[in-house]
């Protein structure tokens, strides 16, 4: 069993960035088509990272080297934990720590763009945290433990118990995949208010590390959808693809959503659907679980 877990972790560490990069490429082509452009080649994200890696090492504050490394390592680590069916709460805390390092890297430059970028990244972390904890709580209420493994071997898929949490999670995913709003995200749009915000002071290898971490992150969050559809791999795959396309559509339909609107709407959704779901589950919990 332990060997299998180890294999899972290693496979994740190797495959996630590949899939992540491919998805990003796919995203960029699709988005370009939405906007009546041709867009970059499908493999452009990999070319970008390869080029960044060989750029000159220059930074406005040397601590960013270690912070971006920490971001990448911890994101990969939390992904590996998730892939081995580990403790979900642990994955959440580890992700939080990883994001904190990214934010610190942006802070370190002490420049207006990256500082405001860091603040807004912090806001998005603040939006993400409640729904992840609610999801963890939901897992615990359904399976009696925080282990994601138990969620995957459930007889009845988790979505039956946690539909509200699922919808709230998908809503927050828009933000976490760095799609909308335009004044938080670091997406590849040209119209970005903050010149790519949190990464505006990063260059060369630091930026490459952030890009790779972002690929990991994308796979981590998309694979969290699996928790809701245990035992139905085909449905899971379809849902993941649909969600991914949905996020691209949302991004292109609402290009001018600001961060204040985002916080309000996403927390409202989390509060109503996420908390509502947990409360109902808590009340009914004693009856049928």
């Amino acid at each position: 069993m332990d060997i299998m877990f180890l294999v899972g972790a290693v496979l994740f560490l190797i495959l996630a960035p590949i899939f992540g990069g491919l998805l990003t490429g796919c995203d960029r082509v699709l988005t370009a088509r939405f906007q009546s452009r041709v867009g970059p080649p499908f493999l452009q994200p990999f070319y970008d990272v390869a080029k960044l890696w060989h750029k000159e090492k220059a930074f406005s504050n040397p601590v960013e080297i270690i912070f971006t490394t920490a971001y990448l390592v911890l994101i990969a680590f939390s992904g590996a934990m998730l892939a081995t069916g580990g403790n979900f709460l642990f994955v959440v805390f580890s992700l939080t720590l990883a994001h904190t390092f990214l934010i610190l890297a942006a802070y370190a430059a002490n420049a207006p763009f990256s500082h405001i970028g860091a603040e807004r990244e912090l806001l998005s972390l603040m939006i993400l945290e409640p729904i992840l904890i609610l999801l963890a709580a939901g897992c615990f209420m359904v399976t009696g433990s925080f282990e994601t493994y138990n969620m995957l071997i459930l007889g009845i898929p988790g979505i039956v118990f946690l539909p509200g949490v699922f919808i709230a999670f998908i809503a927050v995913l828009t933000l976490i995949l760095r799609k909308s709003p335009f004044d938080i995200s670091t997406s590849h749009h040209a119209h970005q208010e903050l010149v790519k915000g949190v990464t505006s002071s990063l260059s060369g290898r630091s930026l490459a590390k952030v890009e790779i971490a972002h690929w990991y992150e994308m796979i981590i969050f998309l694979s969290m959808i699996l928790l809701f559809f245990a035992g139905y791999p085909v449905i899971s795959a379809i849902v993941i693809i649909l969600v991914f396309l949905l996020e691209i559509i949302i991004d292109n339909v609402f290009p001018r959503v600001t961060w204040k609107m985002t916080i309000k709407s996403l927390w409202l959704i989390t509060l109503v659907l996420g908390v509502g779901n947990i409360v109902i589950l808590g009340i009914l919990g004693g009856m049928f679980l």
């Binding site: 000159e56 642990f90 420049a111 763009f113 405001i116 409640p130 963890a136 947990i278």
Partner: protein, 666 residues
Amino acid sequence: MIRMINNDECPYVQQVISMYPPELIAILILLLVPVCAAVLLAVFKPDLVRNTLVGITSVIIIGTSIFLAWKALLAPVSVTIENVEWIGILLFIVDLAIAFVILGLSIKYRKILPLILSVIQLILIVRLELFGIDKHEVIQTFMVTNLSVVMVLIIGIIGTLICVYALGYMKDYHEHQIGVPVRKRYFFALMFLFLSAMFGLVLSNNLMWILCAWEVTTLCSFLLIGYSRTPEAVNNAFRAVWMNLIGGICFTLAVTFLIRINSPVNLLSVNNLLNFPNVSVLTIPLAFIAVAGLTKAAQMPFSTWLTGAMVAPTPVSALLHSSTMVKAGVYLLVLFAPLFSQTWVGIFLALIGAFTFLVTSALAISQSNAKKVLAYSTIANLGLITACAGIGTAEAIMAAILLIIFHAVAKALLFLCVGAVEHKIGSRDIEDMDGLLVRLPLLATMMVIGICGMYLAPFGMLISKWVALEAFLTAPLGFVFVSILAFGSAFTIFFWTKWLGKLFMRMNRPPAEKIALHISEKISVIVMGVLVVGCCLGFPAIITGVIIPYLNTIRPYFYQSNNGLFFNDTLVMLGLMAVILLFLIIGAFLGSKEGRTIPPYLGGRAVDAEGRFLGSLGVYKEAKTSNYYLEEYCGERALLKPSWVISGILIIVMLVLGFMGVMIWI
């Protein structure tokens, strides 16, 4: 006259030993040495004498608390002293003296509310002493449970370190605060008196004695907050005293109701109270004790006294926030947690705590004053402890004790750092702390340790939050608490990270000249930093060695054998994470930093080597941006009043439920 329980061999030697068993001597040292030191400190003026006295007393207190803790961890200590009437009378006189001091000062400064409240308190105590207690029977005088051990270590080590720190701090304080009369004798005497009262509070088994210690802490905090005698200090001191007097009155009422209960055992003994089988008759005293705990722990309607207390010199804040005062409040709540767990009073107590956690975490976002951020974060963490105590299951109590420990060390460290930094850079505003890691490397490093300890994985506070989450999920109405915790911890992340970010910032202006720290400040800060790291690394030992045995002795009502909590895989993962972080830290120091350091990107403007941009008048200017404070949503103006109303209603409902005696049925 004095006898030790559980000692039945070797009659002759034993008689001598049992007259004064080492545990009793240790307890007496902890209670009396700080008082003696206080008297001496009040008498002698020269700095040299004071430094020596504080040093020696601190060594004695630290040594004795460690000794007592070691003894108590080996076997629970309970000491009974017979013929304690005279001590009771002495403490009654102390109670009266406290009341008269507060009365006198209220009249002097013309404060009506404290005056009325202290008169009420006086009447209640006199009534209690003269007509209440007549069925005296021998009860254990001192009980040292593992919970007391934790508290003794916190008070003994952290409390004294803060006193040591104050030696250097007060020198700078009076250089910075011209016009404040120098009353160092008064200051240090009160600090040590405070420690003594705290020891009395956590070691006594008699509720009357605890009440007396409780009142002493109220008085000491009142006098220390008003130390500078500026109008603001006086106002805040009186606010602290009237709020804490409400707590004192509630405590006295709780005792009054306890005496009325017809029971074969003396219910003034904490020990008997915890083992009392019929909790349903205890709900009224429990509700009053809950209110008393809430006031002292600065929970929501009473939170302003603690935020106002920051006008005092920083060591006082550190003492109030980390090891004394507020910890007295939560100690009392955690002590009675097994009783709370069976009542609806407990549920509402937990709700007030959780609500406080949520609101004050949000309030902390809106503050840029470092001490105020710390104050709100203290209240938030105490809220979490209160919530755990109110729920009172085994896991919840474990979470509460862990929170008490980690909060005490990390918060003391942070206060000491902020105090020292304030004297070095002349500001306690977080906005002015940019690039502190370059300017004051030692203090900033310690500050980083403290902040990480407060909220990041895999450090202490987060572990306790984790346990709390598990505890909430297995408790009745747990989903409410989990939801509150989910949002509250999001706020927590926000305000800590933006502070942390400031420390790591690049300096875009020439650094000021280096100023040396006082040796006493340096010692305290470093030792405290080591303590934080030690607690974070040693938490599995704390859980297995201290908390689990405690849980086994008190047997909470719904004791759920936890499925190993996080003793298996999770511990491995936390360890793995710690190792990763360790490698990163080593990498940060040893790794190659080759490359060019260039000015940051400022929208394409010309930038000079120090990171300033070329302004339109041809002058280089520093680009300044500040953190988000979200005043509109999280400001005091937006949040304080509504939350007073909500928490006030919750308290009233709690009292009503107490009077109705509603129990949770299982």
